[in-house]
Symmetry: C2
Subunit: 434 residues, 2 copies
């Protein structure tokens, strides 16, 4: 089956909005093995949209339009498709009921009612977030135009709830995918380890690098969900085995989510003490709803005086080794745990840059410590190649801290030799006795 996307919206042609919708739709089509050969963008202009539609329908059996479904006069995708398909707009009772429910007691303008009109014979796709429903409009034997809303917050649920089942029925296929998430290995090193596993056509495995983490997505297509799951499962297992304990979860939201859940499961409390990350670690932990069960206190001790006062870091030690040292990280983690009454303490100190580096302590150098009743463990981020920026350095340092907790909770060795990072930073564990 061949498909095309037509993105509708003058805001796209002015560059006010980036066309993320096309990528979201494209990924769905690719998962079903549907060939996408053209994407077109046109403005809120009926004549040009009609020309684009006719051109697309001449080439392809599935045309997906995003945008232009709202209540304003600019929104004319539905009217144009109705005309091209020869299917006049009619009131859809269910869509009207949903619209009334959405507005409740608030007044509904004449233009809002327009959203309950669909081309005759179209299959409605309910909008679980906004007001404008989508739909599938039959145009000819085995030829359809899908109308989908432009805002990604409305498009994404509709893709999952309505478009995926629709495509499944047309292709007789169900797609499942699993995301294997790792921390502590670069994309190049990971691809090297699973190269042969990435050659298959169904199921497929592909690597994604993002913000200092590396993911592998496994996707399988089969006649029903159970068969697709059965196809995907062995590849998921194989990828996890090859990558080893850098895998922190499959289909989990984030490293911090795994850490918060892990702490909650065993009833442990974590205290953080941050210098160069300046609150980012605490922020990532408290991004998780329910984090209050495992996190009561975080300290941002940006100045040396704060490290001394709040964490009890010894002044003479600071004078001897400096604020950016494994010793300071260890004292911060210990002080956080002991003075603030936690079960585990984390300390981070480093030079996030872009200024403040010296030949001995360059920009990008960060020490991360985990304190527990039975010892302190350390890691160092040591820049080797190009400095990747303040934001990257801070995020990666916070991830290292979370990963130390993750590994401790999982009973994994904290001194493990980590794979060299593809992103030009060499993150090493340090033996406890520095």
């Amino acid at each position: 089956m061949k498909a095309e996307i037509i993105s509708v919206g003058t805001e796209l042609l002015l560059g006010h909005t980036v066309n993320t919708d096309a990528a979201h739709v494209a990924r769905e089509l690719a998962a079903f093995g549907i060939d996408l050969e053209h994407v077109q963008t046109v403005g809120d202009n009926a004549a040009r949209l009609e020309a684009a539609l006719r051109e697309a329908l001449a080439r392809s059996s599935l045309v997906i339009c995003t945008g232009g479904l709202g209540p304003t006069e600019d929104d004319l995708t539905k009217e144009t498709v109705a005309r091209v398909a020869g299917r006049p707009l009619m009131e859809d009772a269910e869509s009207l009921a949903r619209l009334r429910e959405y507005f409740g007691t608030r007044p509904m303008g004449e233009n809002q009612f327009k959203q309950a009109l669909l081309p005759r014979g179209a299959e409605a796709f309910p909008n679980s977030v906004g007001t404008a429903p989508g739909c599938a409009v039959p145009v000819a034997e085995d030829k359809f135009v899908l109308l989908l809303p432009g805002p990604p917050s409305e498009l994404l649920p509709m893709l999952e709830q309505s478009v995926r089942p629709f495509l499944g029925r047309r292709t007789g296929a169900v797609i499942v995918s699993a995301m294997i998430r790792t921390f502590g290995i670069g994309e190049g090193a990971a691809a090297e380890r699973i190269r042969d596993l990435m050659q298959g056509g169904n199921p497929t495995a592909a690597t994604y690098a993002t913000e200092g983490e590396m993911f592998v997505r496994v996707t399988a297509k089969a006649a029903d969900e159970a068969a697709a799951q059965a196809l995907a499962a062995p590849l998921v297992r194989a990828v996890c085995e090859r990558l080893g304990d850098v895998v922190y979860g499959v289909d989990v939201p984030s490293l911090e989510a795994v850490v918060v859940r892990g702490l909650a499961a065993v009833g442990l409390h974590l205290v953080t003490a941050e210098s160069c990350t300046g609150g980012l670690l605490a922020k990532r932990i408290t991004d998780q709803p329910g984090s209050s069960a495992v996190f009561e206190t975080g300290l941002v001790t940006y100045a040396n005086a704060s490290k001394v006062r709040l964490l009890g870091v010894p002044e003479d030690m600071l004078a001897a080794h400096g604020a950016v040292s494994p010793q300071t990280a260890a004292f911060m983690a210990e002080g956080a745990r002991l003075r603030q009454g936690g079960d585990l303490g984390l300390g981070i100190t480093g030079i996030a840059g872009p200024d403040g580096g010296t030949p001995e302590k360059p920009v990008g150098l960060v020490y991360i410590a985990l304190s527990a009743p039975d010892g302190v463990w350390l890691r160092v981020m040591r820049p080797q190649g190009r400095y990747l920026g303040r934001s990257w350095t801070r995020r990666r340092a916070a991830s290292h801290a979370l990963d130390l907790v993750r590994r401790r909770l999982a009973g994994l060795p904290l001194e493990a030799a980590y794979a060299k990072d593809a992103a030009s930073v060499d993150d090493e564990p340090i033996p406890p006795a520095f």
Copy 2:
């Protein structure tokens, strides 16, 4: 002048990459007043690219291709354009010299040399970041195809360094723009205030809403930069006057940057005490290089016990009013300032959600306090419509705290009645005597 964009790359059709290039190019065209009516995306396929090119050239006098300029066999944009333009590829001496310089002593493969070939008569656009130069290929009288690299890191400098001057020569114009940034007014209310100022064709003013803030971009076009600046300046002033003291800066990076600079300018230190924002406020402050001059300590007091221990919030007051109350926010800000030795203290407490709300204290309710030697000021974020999520609520609460400091530093009234927020949250100041 009419223009079209053709984005080339199979990764776009698979949804692996979002087409940000099209938005970058679209903004450049819009700034020069060039009409963009179509954007097409095709894969790495010569026949479909050629068809798209011929279609675009029939409609428009400027066609801009992004992607497919690299050294691999997939990269065939240049070859295809050369064929359509009837201008065979020839070695460009300057491009070859730049390529040799880029590689230095490293070996250069045969395929790398291919990048120094350009269609005969094309104007080269040097690539300041990567290896593949761009170019402008004349196709007919006053008809051009521009070839630009796909990676945004290469595209963006080339747009600024080569494409903008090229378009300036073709249109006889130079473009300047200014971004007016605000906090405390919604997009709808802002547009209402400046509606007449947004009607002009040159200079133009347009609103942008993003992450709870609202920006106005003013763009002017003239024969040279001084004339463009002279055209833009009165409109920038007029927009700032109409919007009033919700404007926190023109062409500044962020609210936190303005606050950190403002504190540094007068030598004041800030201490933060966060509950529901969980470190986000400290994180945003320390995102700024050099923030150590104004920020020494931040406390994340997520639990009541932490608020009592670290900030001296009275236990009986917590019992009487609850952790989410204007009283607690005020005690947190006071405790932060007095106990941690700052000049100004900020306190934030609220219910970020999605859980934890009650009828009296709903999800989204947040109190924000600023403590100074001469008093305490408070704001409340009170949800009125749809809950916009944990992340939005936290970000907006941190912005309110920063805005309180910004207004104090600027000598603005802290009790000012704020415009109702378009994003369904009513953010009110509270009189100091609650």
